[in-house]
Each structure stands twice: as C-alpha cells, then as structure tokens.
C-alpha cells in the first residue's frame, strides 16, 4: 500500500513536469536527435538496427557469392572493394572479415540493440503505464553509445588492414596477433573499442529497463499482471546486466595482451618464425569469459522475440496465452540455466572432459523450458480464431524456426555428437535457425505489430504477406541443406569448398543456397519499402487496430511526452482476457474493471478477495437466468 502511495506522488510530480514541458518549444535536435522520449529512442534504435541489418545482410550476400561461385569473377566487386576483391574475387582474409563483421553486427547490433533496444524502450513504459523510463537521460545516452559503436564498427572497413577477421567470437591468439591475420591489426582494435561502447550502451539500457519494470508500474499492475513481453524484456535485462560485464573484462584483458604485452591469453607462440615472449596464458580463458556472456547472449537475443510472439499470438488467436504462469516460469528457468551452460561451446577445446559432461547435462535440461514454451504456443493456437496479420505470420514462423533450430540443439548439446559436429555447417544451420531466423522473425513480428503504435499508421498487409512467405521459405532453403553439409564434415568459415575432394559434391548445393539467400535478401526490399513508405503515407491507424488488451493501445495515437493525457489508467486484470465467455467483444482491455464485465467474471478472477466474490455471487444469483440464456446462445 505504501509503495502505491509513493508511486502516485511520483506520477503526479512527473505529470506536472510533463505539463510544464508542453510549453517548451522542442527543437529539431531535442525532438529527433538527442531525444529523451522513450518512443523516439525506440524508433532511433529500430531504424539504426534496420540499417545495420541491411548492411550485415549485404555482407552475407557478398560471401554467399564467393561460396556459391568459388571460381567465378565478379568484376563489379573489384569496383567497390578494390584490393579486397582483386580480379573480382573476394580474398580469403577478406572473406573471413565479412563473416566476422556479419556475425558481430547481426548478433549485437541487430538482434540485441535493434530488438531489445527498440521494443523494451517502446513497450516497457507503454505496457506498464509509466510516463517514461526511469532515467530518460541514461536512455538517450544508451542510444548514442550504441550509435557510436556502430559507427566505429563500420569505420573498420576503411582501415588499411581491413576489419576484424577472427570470427565473431574473436578467439585469441588469432585475434591478438596482427601477424597471424591482417584483420587483427587496427581493425581488431576498433572491434574491441566498439564492443566496449556497445556493452556500456546495453548496460545503461538494461539497468533502465529493470528499474522501470520494478518501480514504475501503474496502479494495479502487479508483476503477475504484466504482459509476457514485459516479463521477457525484464529477464533479458537481468541477463544482460549479469553477463555483459564479463565480456568487458575479457575484452580489456585482450586489449592488454594486444597493446601492453601481457600474457592473459597467450603462451608458447611462434608466429612465422618469430618466437613471442608470452608465457603462462591460456586461450581457453578467453573462451570461458566470452561464452559466459556468449551463451546468455543467445537468450538475450531470443527471449524478447519469444515475449513479443507470446503477445502477438495471443492477440491474433483471440485466446489467452496458454499457461501464462508456465510461460513466465519457463522464462525464469531459461534465465537461470543459461548461466551454467556456456561450456557446451567448448566440449572439444581441451577442457576437462568430465566438466564437458556436466555442461552437457545442464544444456539438455534447458531444452525442457523451451519445449514447454513451444507446446504452450501450439495450445494457444488450438481452437483459436486466428487473424493472419503479417505480425501473426511472423510469430508462427518464429515458432517453426524455434522448433527446428531447437531440435538440432539437442544434437550439439550432446558432447559425444558434438565431437563430429563442432565447428561444422551443422552448427551454422542450428544457430541461424534458432537464434538468427527466429529472433529476426520476432523482431519483424514486433515491427509489424507495433508499427501503428510507433508511427500512427498501418503497414501494407499484402506486402507483409509477400515478405513473410518469401523470407520464411527462403530461410529454410538456405539453412536446411547446411545441416547435411555439416554431417558430412564440412567445417564452417571455409573460403571455398574446392580444395577437398569430399566437399565437391556440395558445390552445387552451395550455389543453390546462394540463390536462395540472394532471393530472400531481395525479398527484404518488400519490407523496407513497406516500412519507410508507410511511415509517411501509410493508412492512418485507429487507436487499437488489433483489438488488443494491453495498455499501450489505451494511449492516444498521437504521441505526447508522458504518453497519456491526464491520469494514467489503472489496471484491473491480466492482459489475456480474449474471447472470455459471457462478454460481447472478444477482448477486454486491462483497464476495464470487473464491475463493468459482471457477465463474464470467473471466480478465480478475484484472487481470493472475499468482498468481490460476494458481490459477484449476488449479481450472479440476480441475473443467473440471463447468464444461462447467454450461455445457450
């Protein structure tokens, strides 16, 4: 009770402030560039994320050209890439730079910042009923750190020795010794600086999300009434706060090794005849530090996507999400377990095999909450009344990718099978489905669903359908055959499959995959056109276009600083009262009190409040006849 009172005054003071603020004239700079409004920051994250995604996708098309046609020249590449594609053929070390930067950008800039940054910023205040984030200034800083990180990463393409090229996991010693690969020169330094800025950005974001979720929920919004999106963002932020600093410590040690002659990761090394003085370090240490972040990172990527789809599937099936509590507990389970599974990336690195066995057990346990989530999605669709908005299609696509990618995880999580599959195309196929495609589908799902909230307009549905089907089928055509290459023992990060006799049978498959990749990349034009065109010329949206229950749709379409004019609405119920029997509409927003829905209230709605139950019983006995009649109808 006390906390509610404090909260109310906080809201009041903030509201006063907001009112005052209205008289200010917002300049272009404070409104669009150094904005402290969470909705604007969300859009900044989204558009930066989309641009990064397009660049990273373009990089993937470049190396797909090399893989698909290893003996063909593309002189146009020389025009653009110069010495990195002499004679129109990408050089092996530049190929490695391409895969490295593609991975880094996609994982960190697109699927972490672009996904969490966008939707946490947009939805946490709007779905919880807060005027803004706990610290709008920190929020702004978070975006600008992220932006700087992006620019530095892009800048590494304009360095003489090229961008970082030791793979997105930048395992030392390769990443520590410029002699071993040119990309480990200035390019790697820029990578490391960019990553530190990025981690700073994501920490500022995550702390903000956590404090907002814990402290700034509107009246009546207790934790068990939060939509699953918020649960997912909240747990993701906790994951980020606990794991990202470990990456920074790893990166700092690597910087020391590179620039100040320490030996944290280096020992017993002779590069091109030169005996290095380093002794006593261990490259395995980096792998422990990296994957202590790296594995939670894949859940940082996928959990917001799962949260978004939970919301979208429930809304568009017109059904409550099946097993809300189980969904939350699964997320919590995933959050906790994700910290103790990192070793499954290291089964064959020479880590003690017994330790590997332990990591195998924890890894396969994490499949249980994931399976529960999948089955709950299926149960939500069952006997629903499904509306196929583009967002819904992408949500269904996510479930499909999550299943197929998750199942191959059972192979890789098994240490014995990993011996033969480690670092092959099987791994590439696995994580591109389960965290690449699934997470990007979650992001696209979110964009289609909350576009009206962000821009007040609707995206074109039919272009959305086209985009979905091309991308969905394309992604499967690209990644499904890769499993089989991996089973045959084709390692990843190979510049060409031409040097080994047994790989040559896969050359035609590679050409096929490259075509599929190019076509699905071109299909994204449908999205980009739709997105940017609709920002300006899309059909005007109504306030609640998807007839959704959550709070953001009670805020006016026109954005205003502080989100709601006047008082923030109070929340009375959980967010999933869809198609409740006895109610006229098939949705009841969270802000509708039970007193207005007497005909549809159920006993457990009152959470044991005796007074409310009594009132309901009285009403029931009075109108029982009506209710029965309604039931028959």
């Amino acid at each position: 009770m006390a906390s509610t009172a404090i909260h109310d005054t906080a809201v009041l003071t903030h509201h006063d402030h907001g009112h005052e603020h209205g008289h200010h004239k917002e300049t272009f700079i404070t409104k669009y560039i150094f904005s402290q409004d969470h909705k604007m920051i969300a859009k900044q994250f989204l558009i930066t994320g989309i641009i990064m995604a397009v660049i990273a996708m373009f990089l993937s098309v470049l190396f797909r050209l090399q893989l698909g046609w290893p003996d063909k020249n593309f002189p146009i590449l020389e025009t653009f890439l110069g010495k990195w594609a002499e004679g129109g053929r990408i050089r092996p070390d530049f190929y490695l730079a391409l895969v490295t930067i593609h991975g880094t950008m996609m994982v960190f800039f697109v699927l972490t910042a672009g996904l969490s940054g966008t939707f946490s910023n947009l939805l946490i205040p709007l779905q919880l009923g807060a005027r803004d984030m706990a610290s709008p200034f920190l929020n702004m800083l978070s975006y600008w750190f992220f932006f700087t990180a992006c620019m530095i990463m892009m800048g590494s393409f304009f360095v003489q020795t090229g961008p970082a090229s030791a793979g997105w996991t930048i395992y030392p010693p390769l990443s520590a010794i410029p002699k071993a690969i040119p990309g480990s020169g200035l390019g790697m330094t820029l990578w490391l600086i960019s990553m530190i800025l990025f981690v700073a950005s994501s920490l500022m974001g995550a702390l903000n999300y956590i404090s907002t979720v814990l402290n700034m929920r509107t009246k009546g919004m207790d934790m068990w009434r939060m939509p699953l999106t918020i649960w997912a963002f909240f747990l993701t932020a906790i994951l980020g706060v606990l794991s990202f600093p470990v990456l920074v410590s790893g990166v700092v040690l690597l910087i020391f090794d590179r620039s100040f002659g320490t030996s944290f990761y280096l020992s017993d090394i002779v590069v091109q005849g030169e005996v290095l003085p380093n002794q006593g370090g261990s490259p395995i240490l980096w792998q422990h530090l990296f994957w202590f972040l790296g594995h939670p990172e894949v859940y940082i990527v996928i959990m917001p996507a799962l949260g978004i789809t939970s919301e979208v599937i429930a809304t568009n099936s017109r059904k409550p999400i099946f097993g809300y509590h189980a969904m939350v507990y699964s997320l919590i389970g995933i959050t906790i377990l994700s910290f103790i599974v990192w070793g499954h990336h290291m089964f064959i690195t020479g880590m003690n095999p017994f330790l590997g066995g332990v990591f195998m057990i924890t890894t396969l346990i994490i499949a249980v909450p994931s399976a529960v989530k999948t089955f709950n999605y299926l149960a939500t669709l069952w006997r629903g009344n499904i509306r196929f908005t583009p967002a819904m299609l992408f949500a269904i696509g996510l479930v499909s990718f999550f299943i197929s990618g998750g199942l191959t995880g059972i192979f890789l999580g098994n240490a014995a099978l990993d011996i033969n599959l480690h670092d092959t195309y099987f791994v590439v196929a696995h994580f591109h489905l389960v965290m690449g495609s699934a997470a990007i589908f979650g992001m696209l799902c979110g964009v289609y669903h909350w576009f009206p909230k962000m821009f007040g307009r609707l995206m074109d549905e039919k272009l959305g359908y086209l985009h979905f089907w091309l991308t969905f089928i394309g992604a499967y055509l690209v990644f499904f055959p890769m499993h089989f290459m991996g089973l045959d023992g084709v390692p990843r990060r190979y510049y060409a499959f031409t040097e080994f006799e047994f790989m040559k049978e896969w050359l035609t498959v590679n050409t096929f995959i490259s075509w599929a990749a190019i076509i699905s990349a071109l299909a994204q034009v449908a999205f980009l056109w739709n997105f940017f065109y609709s920002i300006f010329y899309g059909k005007k949206s109504s306030q609640n276009p998807w007839e959704s229950n959550t709070m953001e749709w009670t805020a006016p379409v026109e954005h205003l600083h502080g989100n709601w004019p006047g008082e923030i609405p109070t929340v009375y119920r959980w967010p999933y009262d869809y198609s409740k029997p006895g109610h006229d509409d098939d949705f009841i927003p969270q802000t509708v009190p039970f007193s207005q829905t007497m005909s549809s209230n159920l006993p457990h709605d009152f959470e044991g409040n005796a007074e409310s139950e009594r009132i309901q019983q009285e009403w029931d006995s009075k109108y029982a006849a009506d209710k029965v009649e309604q039931g028959i109808n």
Binding site: D71, K72, P92, L174, S267, A326, G356, L417, F484
Partner: protein
Amino acid sequence: MRLKKYLNIRWIASIMVMCALLVNAIPLSAQLADTSSTTASSSAGVNEGAADSSALKSASSEPLISTVVDTAASAKLIADFKPEKDFGPLYKSASYYVLLFFLVCVFIAIIGKVLRVYELSGELQGKKTKSYWQNVQGILFIVVLIAGLYGVYWSYTVQGAMSMTIAASEHGEKIDTMFYVTLVITTIVFILTHILLFGFSFKYRGSDTRKAYFYPHNNAVERLWTIIPAITLTVLVVFGFITWRSITNVPKEEQDKALKVEVVGEQFKWNIRYSGTDNIIGKRNFTLITPTNGLGIDYKDPKSWDDKLAGEIVLPVNKPVRVAVGSKDILHSFYIPDFRVQINAVPGMPTSFQFTPKYTTQQMRDKLNDPTFNYLLLCAKICGAGHYNMQAKVTVLSEDEYKAWEAKLPLFYNDDVKKQLQVAQQKMSSENNKVTLITKNNR
C-alpha cells in the same frame, strides 16, 4: 488521396525503369541476345568452376602431401585472370540482373494495384475481402506444410545419403548409433509439431461468426508436456554421458598401450611426429624453434632421440592410437570426419584424442567403390587466410605395412642435425653473451 499515391508509385516505377534502360543504353534486341548468352554462361559456370578448380588443384597438387598452402600460387592465379579478360560483358550482365529485379518490383507493384482496385470495387458492392486473404494464408500454410514435408523427406533421402559416411573408427560407431537415436526422436517431434502448428493455423483461421475457446491453462496437460520432454532428455543425457565418457575417459593402461603420434598445427599445415621405438614423444619447447628444428624438439630429452618426422599420417588398422595435438601459433582444430575425431590444437596446452581406426584406406576404397578415397585431416577452427586448405592425408594400413613404412622413416636426430644444432647453439650463446655485454655496458 488514393489517386495521389497511385500516381506516385507509377512515376517512381517508370523513372526506375527509364534509368535502368538509360544505364544500359543498348538496343533492346542486343540486350536479349546478351541475356541469353549470359544465362548460358552462368549455367555453364558450375562446369567452368570445376575446370578452374582442377586447374588450381594441379597448380597446388605437388604440395598436397606436405599440405603447405601456397597462397603465392593462388595469388598468381588471380593475377593471371586479371589482365586478359574484358569485363564489359560481365558488368552488362550485372546491370541486367538489376533491371530484372526492378521489373519484378514493378510487376509486383502492378499486381498490388490491381488487387487494390479489385478490393475497392468489391467493397463498393459490399463484399468482404478481408476473410478472403485470411483463407489464402491458411491454405498457404497447408500447401507449405505438404511441400515442406516432402522437401524434408527429399533432403533426408538425397542429401542425407550424401552426408552419411561410414564411421571408420570404433568409437565412431557408438557416436553414429547415438546420432541415429537422436535423429529419430527429433524428426518425430519436428514433424508432429509442424503438422500441429501449420494444421492449427489452417483449421482455426479466423472467421467473424466464431469465437475462440477461452482456455487459459490446464495444469495436468502442462505437467504432462514438461515431464515427457524431461524424461526423453534424461534418457539422451544418460546415453550421451556414457558415450562421451567412454570416448574421452581412457584408462591409464589403455593410454600407455596406444601408439603415440604427435600432430602440431601451424598456419597452414600440420606437422607430424612419430614417437619411435620407446613409444614416448620427446619433449618440445617453443623457445627452441628454429628453421632447422621446426617443432622445437628438446634434444636434451633422450626420449626425443628416436622420434621421427613424417609428411603424412599413417596408422595401423585396429590398433589404438593416441594423438597428442598441439599448436605452434594459434588455435587450430584436429578434425578427421571419417573417424569422428576432433580436438582443438591449443598453443601452450597439449590436448589428445584416442581412437582406433577400423578400416584400412584400401578397405574403405573397396567399400565406397571409390579408388581415389583418402582419409583427410582438416582444420576446423578459424585460423586465417589458408584455413580452408589446411589438410593432411591420413592413411590406414595393415599392421605389417605400417611397420614397414615406419621403419623407413628417417630419424630426425641424425648427425647432420646434431652438428647444425651445435652450431646454432654456439651462435645463440655467443649472441646472448653479446646481449649481456651490451646491457652491462649500458649500465
């Protein structure tokens, strides 16, 4: 408002096409002829590619045994391409693709407009088109489900057959059994869940006349589908754990019995050392690495005196082998897919893997009916520009053949090497003296 948009798109589209045409600035007929020729050449591209790669192969065929990647040769190859070719037609074909894409876009835009007009006219007559599109999506899900299931069946049979190799080691067979068990379980789950996912999407596609079934939870069902995956996974975990331990946890006496071979990776080749008559690999120290002593073998350790260097890996069949893996420079990964063997090569940290080859190379050739088959060692950890070609041939012989081969290997620690080492050592120590002198003087 709508009309304005209408015009907008048309203008943009037509400007796009015009631009593309201007860029080409070639008569349409010539274009057509050229496109046909380029498509022909692109379809021939694969064959050409094969030819080129064989050229590349022949250029580097000699060092195949020693597996030195001569980047110089490939650089030369690239340089060879550069001067003679006229890139004009290739640029042209690139712009054709761009034009083609524009045309596809325009085509889609036109279809979009037609659909819009159709819908608007339908709306005027009071028809609802919304549910039409709903049905289309639902049906598409069923079509994709059926096509997808067939696709899965096709790739399991065709590509699966391409990828399934015979496990040529004892533990490899255990891994394969484990793999097939997991494959059967996951495939069943994959197909069932997808039938449900896409089937539900089709069956429960929206309609205005129906309301969804309010069904927020069912604890019994939820418990059921927590417990069933948990049990299945427990079985897999136990099975996997036992297999993993049996492969990696080799008892001491078994380890001693095994033939010891050392394989040390460096950019971009594998160095192979046999342990000789004592079956113990002599010590190695990276500070001793010189051009003559590439591995830095420590000859103060008498166990190293009988060690032999080899250009390729040769193993006796049906005899356990313990490979000690190391790296001179950066991480590599010792990976022989046919044996189901992989372990990382880590500088500063020795790793090892014990396995028993089951078939000789000749037996495999007979089995696969492929007279050119060879076991291959490849590098599976990113290690630089030559990563994709860091290979070594692995040959498995019968025990007698192996012994004969091993006997022929020369000792590395011969008189020449002794002399060279002495000279080098003297030089080193004199240099060291110099250094100490200089530092003393400086002080």
